[in-house]
């Protein structure tokens, strides 16, 4: 009750903040980039498969060029997904968070492995599994930040669900 009251005062008067920060106080962390990366991996897998379905073996310059671009983008975004999660895990997550969410280390390790597998294969199931693991990470991240979350369909060419904060 008191917190709700304080929030109302904050909304009206924009209270001064006091920092309880660690390292460089940038304070800007968000798993959204990792989710975008994972969605892009799914999209690239879809494009690769539809290219093969449409063009068969595909020995034209056009086919090879498009396929090379899809593969390069898949590689890049799978790695970007891993990078984003590593940064949040390494810089934002503290010992006390790991105690409160003992599954976090295992989850991050799973994301690293799925990210690598997504690079090695063109398996849609793996790509979706990567997104789901990142979503699970996002849900914990926003819980730590004190924000409620919801699952929404991504408004892109792939419409898998992503976990987003209710702001």
């Amino acid at each position: 009750m008191f917190h709700k009251f304080a929030e109302k005062i904050d909304q009206h008067f924009e209270l001064e903040t006091v920092d309880a920060h660690c390292d460089i106080p940038c304070g800007i962390y968000d798993p959204h980039q990792a989710q975008i990366g994972a969605l892009t991996v799914i999209r690239m897998v879809d494009l690769i498969h539809s290219m093969v379905e449409e063009h068969g073996k595909g020995d034209t310059a056009e086919f090879i060029n498009s396929m090379a671009r899809y593969i390069a983008t898949k590689e890049e975004h799978a790695e970007a997904t891993k990078h984003e999660i590593r940064v949040i895990w390494g810089d934002f997550i503290k010992d006390a968070h790991l105690e409160e969410y003992p599954q976090l280390n295992g989850l991050v390790h799973k994301i690293m492995q799925l990210g690598s597998k997504a690079r090695q294969t063109v398996n849609r199931e793996t790509a979706v599994e990567l997104l789901e693991a990142v979503n699970e990470f996002a849900a914990i991240f926003w819980q730590i930040k004190g924000k409620e979350t919801q699952r929404v369909k991504a408004p892109y060419s792939v419409s898998e669900e992503i976990v987003v904060p209710i702001l």
Partner: protein
């Protein structure tokens, strides 16, 4: 003087969480001197307005060793003791999120 402030960051987690509010009292503190274990708000050059817990009272109450709860908290291990004139208030009420 009483001030209502909002906590940002995780240096005092899980005691204080981002989004909590604190009511602070300036000099003279209603509950007397600042003691070890008190949570204070102070201005630290280069860091802004910080909130930390007093670990140790130094120089007969003229300086304070302050700490966060995390290995990498930014505190007296980085910027040394906090002098009394840097302190703007002591937390007298912690308003937690649900």
């Amino acid at each position: 003087m009483l001030r209502l402030l909002k906590v940002r960051g995780h240096s005092l987690f899980p005691d204080f969480r981002e989004g909590d509010y604190v009511l602070t009292a300036g000099f003279p503190f209603p509950s007397g001197k600042i003691r070890a274990g008190d949570v204070i708000v102070f201005r630290q050059p280069g860091y802004g307005v910080l909130i930390k817990r007093v670990r140790e009272v130094l120089e007969q109450g003229r300086a304070f060793d302050v700490r966060g709860t995390q290995v990498n908290s930014t505190d007296s291990r980085n910027f040394g003791p906090v002098s009394r004139d840097q302190i703007s208030g002591k937390v007298i009420w912690h308003i937690r999120q649900k």
